[in-house]
């Protein structure tokens, strides 16, 4: 690989996310004042021939309150019973130095919409186990109402309890498949 190639493409081959050292999160503005953060504990992601894809089990959504988790899994939000998985599939990742742009499609609650993620790539580095790893840190903002997740409630002072915009973050440590 030439020097130019190394800074304009992501590594070829198959790389799988190490679930322990990766995370998938979301943040939605709550009461108009604070980002409320949560995540999905059970997910898989892989970079295969410069395309990123991944799935997450909706039921693995984590919050600090079981009633809230229940509400998030209900038809008001993710409807986990009918849509147990969310999914992302990208086209070839674009790279400019350490910056990457990942254009793909997100399927959530049965709706598939184009999503563009931006972030950085790091590595490859050699791990102590004889393998090779890269890191991808990605962010995107989606409008949850485009996926039919439109629950809200009005605040006494005006405005709504939850923003329509949701920030998604993926921090992936990907290990090269042997």
């Amino acid at each position: 690989m030439s020097i130019t190639e190394a800074t304009t493409t992501v590594p070829a081959g198959t790389w799988k996310a190490d679930p322990i050292h990766s995370s998938l999160g979301f943040a939605v503005r709550h009461m108009g004042v604070t980002p409320f953060r949560g995540g999905f504990g059970d997910f898989q992601a892989a970079l295969v021939d410069r395309r990123l894809s991944g799935t997450a089990r909706v039921e693995s959504i984590s919050t600090e309150d079981e009633t809230l988790t229940g509400h998030l899994l209900s038809p008001d939000f993710f409807d986990a019973e009918r849509h147990p998985e969310l999914r992302f599939d990208s086209a070839e990742i674009r790279r400019d130095g350490d910056d990457v742009t990942v254009v793909g499609e997100l399927t959530l609650k049965g709706a598939t919409r184009p999503v563009e993620l931006h972030g950085t790539i790091s590595g490859p580095v050699s791990d102590p186990y004889g393998g090779s790893r890269i890191g991808l840190t990605l962010e995107a903002t989606i409008d949850r109402t485009q996926f039919g997740i439109d629950w809200n409630t009005e605040l006494p002072s005006g405005g709504t309890m939850l923003s329509d915009e949701v920030a998604l973050t993926a921090e992936l440590e990907l290990a090269k498949a042997a």
């Binding site: 509400h71 899994l73 209900s74 008001d76 019973e81 009918r82 629950w151």
Partner: protein
């Protein structure tokens, strides 16, 4: 298909109970409608008593909901909100979180009042509570205002517009319940 009908009013001549009877008449004959008539026997929710041996009234409520493919709830409006006994039933049925009998169960909420507004606030509050409890609340509304003018002396719903609204709401409930039965 089994539908459990719950009237939020305990009164003998309740318009909401009459509304449930009208619904039964409008449902296809293949649908079995059971009336939950023990709302008054469900004690106030108390987490200390919500054990494997829950109070009889609460256990019976949960049992009847669990046996139903769908719920039809008619609510009056007390002080701009859900009658206490009905909200209390939702609270018992919602527990344990994500494993309660309301979880995923299709529900339609209707309501009647003698005032102009047909219990719209109580209906909205009830939909909110049921949704948070994880029920599949169908997107339909039947607002029977001035209820004393909509039923005849035999207690039959005689207002055609209301009958049409009710038919539509029941259709939405049947569609949800069928989807769930097919998926199961």
């Amino acid at each position: 298909m089994r539908v459990l009908a719950i009237s939020g009013s305990l009164r003998r001549d309740s318009y909401n109970t009459k509304l449930l009877r009208a619904a039964e008449e409008l449902l296809p004959p293949t649908v079995e409608v059971e009336y939950f008539e023990e709302l008054e026997s469900v004690p106030p929710y108390n987490e200390d008593r919500d054990t494997d041996e829950a109070p009889l009234g609460a256990a019976y409520l949960r049992d009847r909901i669990a046996a139903a493919d769908a719920l039809l709830i008619a609510t009056p409006e007390y002080n701009a909100s859900i009658p206490g006994q009905l909200k209390n039933a939702v609270d018992w049925a919602s527990r344990p979180v994500r494993a309660g009998v309301l979880w995923g169960r299709p529900v339609v909420v209707v309501g009647a009042s003698t005032g102009m507004y047909g219990a719209v606030w109580a209906q909205a509050e009830l939909r909110k509570s049921l949704s948070v409890a994880g029920a599949r609340v169908v997107d339909a509304e039947v607002v029977v205002g001035r209820a004393h003018q909509r039923f005849d002396e035999e207690g039959r719903l005689v207002d055609q517009e209301m009958r049409d609204e009710l038919t539509e709401a029941l259709g939405a409930l049947m569609a949800e319940a069928s989807t769930r039965l097919i998926a199961a």
